[in-house]
């Protein structure tokens, strides 16, 4: 599905993420962990194309997307939920969803599906998204990403700022989505959830992969260890 080879990227001339190799297989959930500032967000931004890759390649299903602009990567099947509950503040919640449903065959149905998944959003459709609470915005962001019917969902700390019972729902939803044929690249601080949902993990430290592998037995210790140093 997604293949990163020797990916280096950063801001200005300063690399923040160095030489990362990572594979997300079809129907697989891969969790990326690491401290604040380790470069997780930077890595994801490079994958969706918001930051240029300094060196290395990004491939989706064998197609080289390293130089493809972001919106075309989305058309190729990526979807991205950025960190920080971002939404189009000046559009209503409903318009946030319609924006991505526009031009899709079953746009209305797709929106409805997501409203079923996040029922809290239904009554808020006519409220300006900029006025929603943090948690409401996060749900809106995930719904927006899913409407594009992605094959690879990229999530940056999707449960940050979400009330516990909804966290549980989101987690369930991700596991569910993965089962139904979606690949997921997940940045997550909740270790327990990350390891449970993901088949593979990678730990970033100072922009480099410090540890990676399958999430089976002993993974928790390896992750803890990689993070602690």
């Amino acid at each position: 599905m997604l293949t990163l080879r020797n990916l280096t990227c950063g801001y200005g001339r300063t690399p923040v993420v160095h030489d990362v190799n990572l594979d997300v297989g079809t129907d697989q959930v891969v969790a990326v962990m690491g401290h604040n500032g380790a470069g997780k967000t930077t890595l994801l931004r490079a994958v969706v194309g918001l930051l240029p890759a300094m060196t290395g390649t990004i491939e989706l299903d064998g197609r080289d997307l390293t130089r493809t602009p972001t919106h075309r990567r989305i058309a190729h099947g990526m979807a991205y939920v950025p960190q920080g509950q971002q939404c189009f503040a000046h559009l209503t919640a409903g318009e946030n969803l319609r924006l991505v449903a526009d031009g899709r065959k079953h746009g209305k149905t797709l929106i409805d599906e997501q409203l079923d998944r996040f029922p809290a959003l239904r009554p808020l459709q006519n409220r300006q998204a900029g006025l929603l609470s943090g948690g409401q915005r996060q749900q809106l962001a995930i719904a927006r990403a899913l409407i594009t019917e992605p094959r690879l969902l990229i999530l940056d700390e999707p449960t940050e700022g979400i009330q516990p019972n909804v966290v549980a729902e989101i987690e369930a939803a991700i596991v569910d989505l993965a089962r139904s044929g979606l690949s997921v690249l997940l940045v997550e601080q909740h270790l327990g959830f990350a390891l449970q949902a993901a088949a593979q993990y990678a730990v970033l430290r100072s922009g480099r992969v410090a540890s990676h592998g399958a999430t089976g037995a002993g993974a928790r210790e390896r992750v803890r260890e990689a993070m602690a140093i």
Binding site: H35, N36, G37, S133, G134, G135, Q138, G161, Q163, G192
Partner: protein
């Protein structure tokens, strides 16, 4: 000395007919880390906005300061409220990116300075600034521009800025969002440490963090107070479980 530092009485915030906060009473006592939890959209941030003068409201907020007595905050301007000793942080850390850590703290310490002092150069860092820098663990970064600090460090700097500013009521909106496990621990201890002679209110969704560090919890739901009490009181309250925590099983299933 658990004296009450801040008293909110019957706060209501009305957005064109939608009551985001609806008749909330709340007391914050010195010596306590008071957690404010509740579903997304319950009105937690709005309540903090109201107290700090960002949103108009009805009701009353009084600040009790030893020596000066109680003052009503409603109707005061943002910076006047801040000067009574109320400090807040935001869901996303805002520090002055182009200034260094020390400069950030020095500014935060200086709201009471005379114009004359302001117009001169700083000869040396004030005691409180160096002390606080120690306390938040950023002494090594004194000359680092705040813009290039790590996320967690920015949050700490923000808290530090409230401390040097002599805030004795701290309202922190999701201060550990995005922090790793160890940083959460550090932050929690820091909060307890500074709460010794201050009132600290924390808005947070991380239940582990709450269980570990809350002295007292208030649960908001749909703009109103749903429950208030100790961690145990609220986490066993079925209404809180229903609207917020989820059933016991789901809640436990994901705790690390």
């Amino acid at each position: 000395m658990n004296t009450i530092a801040l008293t909110c009485t019957d706060i209501t915030v009305d957005f064109d007919g939608f009551k985001a906060v609806n008749g909330v009473d709340l007391e914050l006592a010195r010596g306590e880390v008071h957690f404010l939890i509740g579903p997304n959209g319950a009105g937690k941030t709005t309540l903090v906005d109201a107290i700090t003068g960002l949103t108009p409201y009805t009701g009353s907020v009084t600040k009790d300061t030893p020596g000066t007595g109680a003052v009503e905050l409603r109707g005061k301007k943002v910076h006047h409220i801040a000067r009574t000793g109320i400090g807040r942080t935001f869901q996303t850390a805002t520090v002055f990116d182009n200034l260094t850590v020390a400069q950030n703290l020095d500014i935060a310490a200086g709201a009471h300075r005379t114009p004359w002092t302001l117009l001169r150069r700083r000869r040396h860092l004030p005691e409180t600034v160096t002390a606080t820098m120690d306390r938040i663990g950023l002494t090594g970064h004194a000359d680092t521009p705040a813009g290039i600090l790590a996320h967690g460090q920015k949050q700490w700097l923000e808290i530090g800025m409230l401390l040097v500013g002599d805030a004795d009521v701290l309202l922190l909106d999701e201060p550990i969002a995005g922090m790793g496990h160890d940083e959460r621990e550090t932050t929690g201890r820091l909060l307890h440490d500074i709460a010794a002679d201050r009132a600290v209110a924390v808005v947070e969704h991380d239940m582990d963090f709450m269980r570990a560090f809350a002295s007292r919890v208030t649960v908001l739901h749909a703009g109103a107070v749903l429950a208030t009490g100790s961690v145990d009181d609220v986490s066993t309250d079925p209404r809180v479980q229903a609207v917020y925590l989820g059933t016991k099983e789901t809640a436990d299933a994901h705790t690390a």
